[in-house]
Structure formats: C-alpha cells, structure tokens
Symmetry: C2
Subunit: 498 residues, 2 copies
C-alpha cells in the first residue's frame, strides 16, 4: 500500500524539454498540490531516495525544490523522521474554498461596472477578435490607405541611438515638437490661436474626457450631454457621479434653450460641433454663440470634441468653438485616432490658461506622457507635410466611398432603411421603421459577421426613430455592392422583408 | 484724417510666404482685433477698394475674409452704407477682461493639485528638459545599454502591411501574444501561476495604481502604505480620498503588527516586497505570510508592486506575494519601464479572478489598450529570448556599476554620507547626518545639474535620518570617479565640509 505521500508521485508531471528548471517544476507542482488540499498538513512525503527513483531526478534537484518549499513553510522536515507537509497553509485553503462572495469594490468601481453593462446592451466590438473585418463599423478609418512606408521611414530615423530623450520618461505635457506642430495645425485648420503652453498631449480623446471629468466634475453636478451622443464621454462623466442632462439635437445642433430651462447651472457641456456624434450634423453659428454665451455668463465649462472635423465633405469647416470663445471657457479635445490610426494612442487637449496647471497636475498623477517614439514620428509626419496631404487624400477617398455605399444601400435596401449623405464623419445613419428593434438587428447582423452599431446605444431619452450606424470609411468602392448584398441577405435570414 | 477703421490697416500684417492663405490671414487678424477690443462695435471699415490698395490684396481675397467674418457676426454689412464691426462680440471681451478668478475645479481636481505641490517640495525632474543627464536619478535604467538594433528589427517586422490588427483599436486586455509571454515569464521568474484571463496590459504601473485605487477605494477607506514608500502609488490612492496609514519599514519589510494595531480593517495594503521602494530591502517570508494572513481574514486587498524584482544582486529572488496567496487577495503589478525602457509605456496587472471583470470595466472606461506595435514588439522580444538575455546582461552591468559607484562614494564622500550596497534595485541611499537638510541639498545639487532625490519626499512620518537617493544604473564604471568628484565639488560649493 502506498504511503499518503504517494499521492505526490502520481500528481507530478515533469517536462524535461521545458526551459523551466526541473527543481522549479517540482517546487511549483508540490506547492500547487498543497494549496489545493491534495496533500494535507502532516502528510509524510516519500524519502528523497524513493523520489529520485520514481521521478528519475537527481538528489540535488529534489533537495533544491524541498529547500524552497521548506523556507516557505510548505514542508516541515523533522530531524531523523523524514519530511512532512506543513500545516501553515492548510487552513488557508479552507478559506479559499468557502462560498465566493462578490469582491468588495468602491462605489466608483461598482457604478462603472454596471454603467458599462448598461450602455453596451447592443453590440460591443470590444469582445471581437482584432482580425474580424471592420465591416460597417463606424469610427474605423481606412487602414489599407494608411501610408505605412512613410511612417516606417520617419519612425526608423528615431531608432538609431538609444538616448534618454527617446527612451526615458517623456515631458509632462508631451513632446514639444509635436505640441508646436499642433499649435500650427489648429491655427491653420481650426482658427485656434493658442500658445504652446496650452497644449497637452494625452493618449487619446477618451483619456482626455476622463481627466477633464475628474478635474471639473463633482458628484451631482449637472452636465449637458448631446442626445444622442458620445458614449465614452458620457460614461467618463457619469463615472464622476454627475447628473446627465440630455439635450435634443436639431438641425442646428444641441438645444441650448432646453439646457437653460432644465439645468441652467450645469457645470459642463459636452459637444461635438464640427460633426455631431453620431448624427453627423454641424452646429450652426447661432447655436455656437448661444452655447458660448451660456458658458461665459456662469461657471460652466464647454468640452469641445472636434473629432472628424478633418473629414468634412460639404462646405468650408466652421472654426472651432474654442476659437470663438472670448471667455476661455472652452476646452478643445483633438485626436489622431481617425486621422492617423487608433492604436497610435495620441490625442491632445487645448486648455484655457487658467486650467493648464490644474490639468497637468491630474494628468501627471493619472498617467505619464505617451511614447516619445510615437510623438516624435507624428511630429515629423506633420512638420514634413505628410499630414495635410494624408487628410486631403482620405477626405477624397471617404467622400467617394460614402457616395458609392449610399448608392448601393438605396438601391438594394431603400425599402428597408432610409439613408442620406452626411456632411462629415465616417458613417451614415440607416433609419429604420418605428416598429423595428434596432438592437436585435445589430446583434443578429453581428452573428453573420456584419457589424453596425444600434443608434439606441447613443441615446439617453428616445425621441428618434430606430437606426443603425453604418461606417463607410472601411468599404472600398468596388466592394460596396457585395458588402451591401451580404447585409441584405443577412437581414433576410433574420426574417426581415426588404 | 483716417477713418476709425483705419486702425484696421495699421494692425494687419500679411505674410505672403506663409502656407496660410491670405484671405485666412486677413480673417484671423481682423477677428483678433475685434476680440481684443481694438475695433469697437459700430466702427466703419474702409471700403474694399481702399483695402485692396493699402493691403495689396485682390478684391476676392478681401470678400472671402469678410464673408466669413460676417457669417460669424464679427462684421455687419449695411446695405449701401459700407461694412461695420458688429457689436455681438463687444460685450464678451469686457467679460474676458474682468478680474480673473481661479477656475472652479472638482474636489478631486483641487486635492490632486495641492497633493502634487506638497509631495514634490524637494526636487521634481518633471520640469527638467529631456536632454539633461540622468545624473544620479533613481528609476532610470541604462539607456545606452538598450539593444536598440534588435528592437528596431523586431518593430520593423510589424510595419510591413497596414492592417486593422496593427493600426486598429487594440484588444481590451491587451495583445494576446504579449499576455501569453507574460504568463510564461511570471511563472518562471516569479513563481506565479495564473491564467491568460487574469493578465491585463496597462500603460505602466502608475496607470495600474490609479485604476486599482478607483476600483477598490472609497473616500475615508484606510490604506496601509509603506513609509517611506512609493510616491506615485500614494498620490493615486490619496486622489480617491482614502486615509493613509503609514507603516514603518524594518529589516523584514513593512510592520504588519503596526497596521493591525492602527487600522486592522484597512481596505488595501500597498507593498513592494521584492525591493522595498525606496529603501531597497526585501520582505521576509514571515512578514509575507503575516501580510497575506491579514488579507485572507478580512476584506483587505494587497497591491504588490514588483518593480525591479529583475535586478536582484544578492541571493535567489523570493516568489511573488501573488504566488503565496491562497485567498486571491493579492493584485500583482509589473512594468516594463525599468527592464526595457520608460517611454515604452507598458505594464501589466495580474488580478484575482473575481476582480478581472470589474477591473476590465474601469480600464475600458478610463483609457484604451496601449499601442499594438509596442505590445507586439515586446511580445517578440520576450518570446524570441531577447528579454531574459537583456535582464541577465543588465543585472551584471548594474551590479558592477553599483560596486564601482559605492567604492567612489565611500572614498570621496565617506565622511559626509554613509552608503551601503543594496540587494536589489537601481539606487543606493546616501545617509546624512541628522542636522543636514536633505531637501536643501537635493535642490542645491540640482542647480549644479547633479540630480538626486531627497528621501524625505518618500516619507509620511519621519523616523529615519535624512538621506539622498543616488541612482547607479546610469553611471558607467569609468565615469563613476569623475561624477562623484563633481558631486563632491558641488557639495563644497553649497558650503558643506566633506
């Protein structure tokens, strides 16, 4: 009959081809058995001689493993009486086996957890594999059209010498050369006059929204949000415990009068004036002035998310709110995610002077400046003229892709959804009949590997008909027909009559 | 006599060599003058004919600029009576000129702002130019020894095709290949057995501390902190409004008994068991077990910052706390900042299973996954064997650099400071006489471009003599003599007798 320690022998499997030394494999496996309760405290282990033979190990290997196990209290050698399993760890295992309670989180932790489940009730691409096609996903630029050879060349120039400037902790506000390029770009493209000092590099618009939420919002503060509106911004502000005030969007932009009626003393207004997210409309001058007027009169801040202002297909872009604001109440947020690529993780915030120092404090506490290599490459790309050329080419490409996809959608699905061209941005809205469940459609389509977003995910109060966000930037013109056909077939399989 | 609008002409300076179109230059400059109050509402502008002549511009350029200014309300044409400055913007300027009040921030924003000024009373390198030498700064690896050619080659392999996998939004938990490499590495090097699911990539340890603080801490929660201890971690937890419980460090590590006396129901304990930050000592097994015992009994979490465990010069590394914990109460934080380079901005968190989903929720809200290019390159570097080789080489290099610097410090400054070798990490402590003001020394040395940190910055309650943190990783052996000599001369210039 085997001694109880014989269990040890049956449980040990050594991999002699592994890079992990054998003594360490033995150590880890014995420890695992003890922690799992398979070797209870007081169990006597086989002699090292037996172990040598059975496991085909040298004595020194076994002693090395046992030394460490002894030092950690897993084994207890008794002089002249062999080696026993220690009892120090035994009762701990019982604790680990007890009924699992949900972990105790902070209120913030709990609320963020439930916020996310709530908001992504429809479809979330976060769970999809990175290889899956972008299909009709909004917010994805045309990856195939990114000038990677130029980018690679610029990047490699910085990879010649391992210096502190390249590899060390970056500057708090970000790389000066990149900030200078941004000052010049926003002056030229967005009419913004700001000093270098007001520009801070962040790892994207989402980080900016969260930092601004932390910096400016206390629990219960009112926040004007466009409805439908930006999901990540909304969650960032909700995470601070603030009270959202959903404002309707009309053809001029968010309804400032509604805000004045429902919550005149809001602490912050979030807006996407260049290209309302997700509807794609542009805020009128009159509405911009109303909004700035409100901020100037009270204590409200305006967070201007200027995403996709580069991709405007109709008319001349209006200047940024930041450029129209004489009170220094507007905080401008820009990102390189769409205009270059999302995984670059670079964005920027242009701050009113009074907020520069407090913003930098919270920025320094929360995270350090992004990769210097990426910042330096982006700066070169801008300074050496590639940036404006890329924007120009992408604008033309997206305009053509939009036109072609729109045409195909109208042709094949005109009876099922209404689509109209957007002035700016990377997606269309396919408006559906009132009776249709857009979430069910988005989920159903995703099962056929056709990805769209349900408009409902962006809505706080529902006053709009159901709709799907249909990205066009990732669909080459020559593929529009087949992709729309696949969409149509999937809809038919889901039981819809087209 | 000039018309009042004549002011316009004197203020306009056009740059005909600029890439900014002339109409836009004119538009921006007129707008600026109106916003600055130099052209009051109601001012009549010179006729376009006059402007054409005086500014040497074509009529269409002027009309383009005026159209936009009119649309934005800066100008108001009166039919048949010329063009006037609008009055819409006039009163706003007055508001902007009013007395500047400090901006209204959230409580968090205010407290972080003051926390930072408080903690960095001594010297902060955040304000130094990136070109300045690391000198004796702790936390900086040897940049000159980083194998940039290998790194560049691995990186370039990923820069061949612009794909969604490379350029698009990364996976929520980080690149799977990198997470797999980490699972293998921590098993081998730190005795940690965890599943792929428990590993989440972040942009560095600092982001990890902040996310964990948000996830786990409510205001007024007690937090055990090592004293002296990690500054960034401390501020991250303070930012959540928690109550710090400073625990003394003895030669075994943090004093768990003191914690049990002063705040047994703390919500979290922060510790650096492999290499106490900043003292450099190692936590004993007994102390590790006490700490884990405490966490297992109650509701406390342990955050284990395992920074610099790779750089141990004496004895075999002890396994991570995470590996000893049967209750799943330890959260392990690792970083590539020292072992590769800081600007890479990659770190990782290994979570107890119950915390994986809640942590991912807050991680997804706060920021997106770091650069895929960097993650993929790091994964290759690990999987293809460069990582362990690099650690081995750096360990030998740092050990030699420490020995040499120590020798030189004892030789030249033995009468002024006491130094002893550290078992692990990248810096020594130069202990000073009680009467000496370490902050004044650190500040004074910085003026001579010699950078050290004052130990006091790391202390909550002061029970240790004054000291300076003196990094050795960045000092090649052959430079140790001259660098110590420069340090000595600077001390003499500051009036110290050596």
């Amino acid at each position: 009959m085997k001694s109880p320690g014989g269990m040890l022998l049956t449980g040990i499997e050594l991999d002699r081809a592994s890079a992990v030394p054998l003594y360490r494999q033995l150590y880890l496996q014995v420890r695992k058995q003890i922690l799992a309760g398979r070797l209870p405290g007081g169990t006597r282990l086989p002699s090292t001689r037996t172990l040598c033979k059975e496991l085909e190990l040298s004595r020194i290997t076994i002693l090395n493993a046992f030394d460490q196990l002894t030092a950690e209290g897993f084994l207890a050698p008794r002089t002249g009486a062999g080696t026993y399993v220690g009892d120090e760890w035994e009762r701990r295992d019982a604790a680990a086996d007890g009924p699992r309670k949900p972990p105790r989180l902070s209120s913030l932790g709990q609320s963020v957890h439930s916020l996310r489940s709530e908001h992504f009730s429809g479809v979330s691409y976060a769970t999809w594999a990175p290889e899956c096609p972008t299909s009709f996903l909004p917010s994805h630029p045309a990856y195939d059209a990114f000038p990677l050879p130029v980018w690679k060349r610029l990047m490699n120039r910085h990879l010649r010498q391992p210096t502190k400037a390249l590899l060390g902790y970056g500057e708090l506000k970000g790389l000066q050369r990149l900030r200078e390029a941004i000052v010049e770009y926003v002056f030229d493209a967005r009419g913004i006059e700001c000093s270098l000092d007001q520009v801070v590099i962040v790892s994207g618009a989402q980080q900016a929204f969260n930092l601004l939420g932390m910096l400016l919002l206390d629990p219960q503060d009112g926040v004007w949000m466009e409805d439908p509106g930006h999901i990540a911004a909304r969650i960032a502000f909700q995470a601070q415990g603030c009270r959202l005030v959903p404002l309707r969007i009309d053809d001029q932009g968010l309804d400032v009068q509604q805000g004045l009626r429902e919550c005149p003393d809001a602490r912050l207004a979030f807006t996407t004036p260049s290209r309302q997210h997700p509807l794609g409309t542009t805020m009128s001058y009159a509405r911009r002035q109303e909004l700035i007027e409100w901020a100037g009169r009270g204590h409200g801040w305006i967070v201007e998310d200027d995403c996709d202002s580069e991709f405007r297909y109709v008319g001349r872009p209006l200047p940024a709110l930041f450029a129209m604001d004489p009170w220094q109440k507007v905080i401008y947020v820009g990102t390189f995610s769409k205009v270059l690529y999302p995984s670059l993780r670079l964005g920027y915030v242009i701050l009113p002077e009074a907020l520069v120092e407090p913003f930098c404090a919270i920025r320094a506490v929360m995270d350090r400046s992004p990769s210097t290599l990426h910042q330096a490459t982006t700066a070169d790309f801008m300074v050496e003229g590639h940036f404006l050329g890329h924007i120009r080419r992408m604008r033309a490409l997206y305009q053509a892709r939009q036109a072609r996809l729109l045409e195909q959608l109208q042709l094949r699905l005109g009876g099922f959804m209404r689509v109209a061209p957007v002035e700016a941005g990377l997606h269309l809205i396919g408006w559906l009949d009132d009776a249709v469940d857009e979430n069910a459609i988005a989920r159903g389509l995703a099962q056929h590997e056709i990805y769209t977003y349900a408009l409902g995910d962006y809505c706080l109060k529902r006053y709009l008909p159901p709709g799907l966000l249909i990205g066009f930037a990732g669909t080459p013109e020559e593929q529009a027909g087949e992709k729309v056909e696949a969409l149509a077939r999937a809809l038919e399989k889901l039981g819809h009559r087209l």
